[in-house]
Amino acid sequence: MDLDDDSPPTDAAAALRLIQDQRSATARRLDPDARLLYWPWGVAWLVGFGLFFLRFAPGDRALVDLPSWLPLTVLFVLLAAAGTIQAVVSVRAYGQVSGDSARRGKWYGYAWALGSVSIYAGLGRISEHLPHDLAALLWSATAVGLTGALHMAGGAVWLDQDLFRLGVWISVINLVGAFAGPGWHPLIVAVAGGGGMLVAGAIARRRQQQRQQP
């Protein structure tokens, strides 16, 4: 055992430095890089909805001649990848911490899972009776709406301003997209939604670095 470490810090300045260094070092290790939580989702929306717009542009045109199955497949693969990255990063950071935070995270996760399933089950039954372009709008506007609402809820749970603002932003652009109509909605979601997530990730990261400074 190191006998030395039972001794007090040499002076007040050393004690304060020790506190600050230790707190920032711990926070750095326990807080996952915010970019890893935001950016994969932003890229998924940007690319996935972007391809959807290019293939199913307004007026039933195809701006780029892609196979019709490609946009949705890419979107779902990228969303699954983003979910996996988020899960791995969170478990690595918070996996050994339990208590109230862990419970909040778990319940929030359940809200996403159960909320999605319950909504999509209903949508699936309606959308089969709709023309393709309206079915696509119904699906994406509902999915994006749920995402916006849950981001706002997450902001409320953790009192996280960035997360809440992102939720507001997503809800507003979803509204704009829904009024713009079929064909335009994916473009707005890709550029403003996906781009908004990339910006939010950069802001959250900067805030995090300021917090972690000793």
């Binding site: 055992m1 007090p8 007040a12 304060l16 926070a27 208590g99 109230d100 862990a102």
Partner: protein, 103 residues
Amino acid sequence: MTELDPVIHAQARLRVVASLSTLNVGDKIAFPRLQELLAMTAGNLSVHLRKLEEAGYVEISKTHRGRTPATLVGLSRRGRLAFEEYTETIRALLDPTSSKEQP
């Protein structure tokens, strides 16, 4: 001059308490993870945790994660308060003009 809390006023225990203070209230961290964050040996950390527990500053609970036993460590309300007071005192020593105890 205000006396500094002798339980916290030791480098190793100050590091332990400072680390635990970054957790949210109501959270606990697994012993091995804390050990890794502090880069202390298990024996060394145990000794300091015991002293902190005797003072009522940390709460240690044994639980099970699946089949493996796990030890969880968290700052008690009293410990958090003691750490805040200690930090306040240190700051006041460094900058007496901002101290509330100054007339």
